[in-house]
């Protein structure tokens, strides 16, 4: 896969063999919205990585309280200006520095929880879909059960029982996110396992585990990539929501949801708009970017998906004989 992607297309003659990865990347690169989304995501990643440098550059640590210069005499936060580029919060802390450190939490939780949820979804979905029978019934009921539970309420109950922490947030997010994707994977596996190449593999003596990993898993790459990407913004918002309710990341560690919660308490944001609009916009842009990228990836990975097919309905009808 890799050497196909890296082989330089331009040095070769007219006919170039392109692997599916390269074709996908080409389609993705042509999608302007996805490219902009990717840039936004990269910007957030850079912000997260550069957090210590931003702190050093401004000379403000994320939890340091500048009660003398960061608050007005009446105790009101200072707006964006030369000293504090994005203003200060209710304790006189630098919003920009906290935003950068908060990006770390959001990305960490978002990506980690999504990958974990996808892994569970793939394992459960593949097992249920491949084995069928009783295994399928039990696992499908389990998915139904997880999906028919008021998840935010249960999350609140869990957090109130064990006390908020980063690890618990991730666990809660994973626990309530794997089921929908597992259902999709199960459906795909059920249709895949009847295909000829799986039969062929079985007739050559491959065991169930080998068939699942070697034959079926690569065919699930597209839904796995798309669903994991789409899961990231949900996880980020889930974490921010928990933190907003005071049940996620423990203060004073900065997180976007926590910053918004601080702003919301005592309706402080009404006199300091940046306390809502800075972390709020960051949160919105990040989730939006991941959602757009997920959409773009879906179209790029599966050119026959609804959007593309419709637009070129008449043209493609003759071309792709499906």
């Amino acid at each position: 896969m890799n050497d196909v992607a890296t082989s330089d297309a331009s040095t070769q003659a007219d006919v170039v063999q392109r692997g599916s990865l390269e074709l996908t990347l080409r389609r993705l690169r042509r999608d302007k919205a996805s490219m902009i989304a990717l840039c936004v995501i990269l910007a957030v990643v850079v912000l997260a990585i550069a957090a210590p440098w931003i702190a050093a550059l401004t000379g403000h640590s994320p939890i340091e309280q500048f009660r003398d210069i960061g608050l007005s005499p009446a105790g009101i936060p200072v707006g964006p200006g030369e000293q504090f580029w994005l203003g200060t919060d209710q304790l006189g802390r630098d919003v920009l520095v906290r935003l950068a450190y908060g990006a770390r939490i959001s990305l960490l939780v978002g990506v980690f929880a999504s990958v974990l949820a996808s892994t569970i979804a793939v394992i459960v979905g593949t097992t249920a879909g491949y084995h069928g029978g009783l295994t399928d019934i039990v696992l499908s009921r389990l998915m139904d059960l997880v999906m028919s539970v008021p998840f935010l309420l249960c999350a609140l109950a869990l957090v109130s029982a064990f006390g908020p922490s980063l690890m618990l947030s991730v666990c809660v997010i994973v626990f309530f996110s794997w089921a929908p994707m597992a259902r999709v994977i199960r459906g795909q596996v059920i249709s895949l396992r009847k295909q000829d190449f799986v039969q062929a593999s079985r007739s050559l003596g491959a065991g169930p585990l080998s068939i699942m990993i070697v034959d079926i898993l690569p065919n699930l790459a597209a839904p796995i990539i798309v669903y994991t990407t789409m899961q990231i913004p949900s996880s980020i918002v889930f974490e921010a929501t928990l933190s907003f309710l005071g049940m996620g990341i423990v203060p004073p560690t900065p997180s976007w949801g926590g910053m918004l919660a601080d702003a919301s308490s005592n309706s402080l944001y009404l006199v300091a708009w940046w306390l809502v609009f800075v972390p709020g916009t960051a949160l919105l842009l990040t989730t939006l970017a991941f959602n757009i990228l997920g959409d773009g990836l879906r179209d790029a990975l599966d050119p026959k998906s609804a959007r593309t097919v419709r637009r070129f309905r008449l043209k493609s009808k003759g071309a792709s004989k499906r």
């Binding site: 139904d144 539970v149 008021p150 309420l153 109950a157 309710l245 609804a306």
Partner: protein
């Protein structure tokens, strides 16, 4: 049909049983002593033992769960640790607020989402589709509390600074006594809820519509000479209704268990706000009660949705 419904009822009962066991045992294994929470730090050991005896938490956990379950079935959910009042009435008192918020919001999000989805599907690939798609993406991405806080700032605070009150800052007025104030106080919460939810419905409608509009019977309807409007609203939408009803049932049920975020942002004292307060106070009977109520709503809605299928789709009958 009856067999199907029985199956659903059994699954529903199973969900509730699992849910009750989950919350109940959760608080049993969790650190923290309820007697200490009620009595405060100054209580003596003898007092604590007495309180534990009164609460029944000195008995084995399985016995506690069984007695909890048998009382819960008759609607007795125990007493709040906070003010020793019975849990069920405390929760029931909060329902009108949440119900007003959810039902009004649902009407609004259907009114926005479905036409948006249809427009998007009808002009697929065109400018109007792009607008629809942009709406869907932004709506899906907007965290509810960010939207709520931003609209409060822009629609309550800015006008108020300019000298007039466009919308109230929050709060709730009873529908029965002050219907106009009731609606006025709920406009912002409704809109916030509806804008984030409408995206889901627009996406669903669009996707289903695109599938349906390629079907033969749609071509037949067009060939009969029906107007495009009639083809879409009568023949197309009919097929989209089933997934929409499924989604609507699930969403309404999920939200009736507490529109936690919006109630928090707009200071509405609904079920969700109660849950948040109970968590902050470590008031376990209330938390258990609210979670179970949420479960009951979901189970009921699943069954209602199944009944709707029979009504909507002759093939199921």
């Amino acid at each position: 049909m009856i067999r199907f419904l029985t199956q659903r009822l059994i699954f529903g009962a199973g969900v509730l049983l699992m849910l009750s066991a989950f919350v109940f045992f959760l608080f049993f294994v969790a650190p923290g002593d309820p007697a200490r929470m009620i009595a405060g730090d100054k209580a003596t050991e003898a007092q604590l033992i007495q309180i534990r005896k009164n609460l029944g938490v000195d008995r084995p956990i399985v016995v506690q769960y069984a007695s909890f379950l048998s009382r819960a079935i008759s609607g007795d959910l125990g007493f709040s640790y906070r003010n020793q009042q019975p849990v069920a009435p405390i929760i029931v008192r909060r329902i009108p607020v949440t119900l007003s918020l959810v039902l009004g919001g649902a009407l609004l999000w259907l009114a926005i989402g479905i036409p948006m989805g249809i427009m998007s599907a009808r002009y697929a690939g065109g400018l109007r589709d792009r607008i629809g798609q942009a709406f869907i993406l932004v709506g899906l991405s907007f965290p509810t509390f960010v939207l709520g806080m931003m609209s409060l700032y822009l629609l309550y605070f800015i006008p108020k600074q300019a000298g007039f009150t466009l919308f109230p800052p929050g709060g709730y007025k009873a529908l029965t006594t002050q219907p106009l104030l009731w609606a006025w106080h709920l406009v912002l919460p409704w809109t916030t809820l509806a804008l984030t939810m409408a995206a889901v419905y627009a996406r669903l409608t669009r996707g289903q519509m695109l599938d349906v509009m390629g079907e033969d019977y749609i071509r037949t309807a067009r060939a009969k000479g029906l107007s495009e409007r009639r083809v879409i609203w009568k023949h197309g939408l009919r097929a989209v209704l089933t997934p929409l009803v499924t989604q609507l049932g699930a969403d309404i049920a999920m939200l009736l268990g507490g529109v936690i975020i919006i109630e928090q942002v707009y200071g509405l004292q609904g079920v969700g706000a109660l849950a948040v307060q109970a968590v902050a106070n470590q008031d376990r009977p209330i938390i258990i009660g609210v979670v179970l109520l949420g479960g009951v709503f979901i189970v009921i809605s699943n069954i209602v949705v199944d009944l709707f299928y029979v009504l909507l789709d002759p093939r199921v009958r």
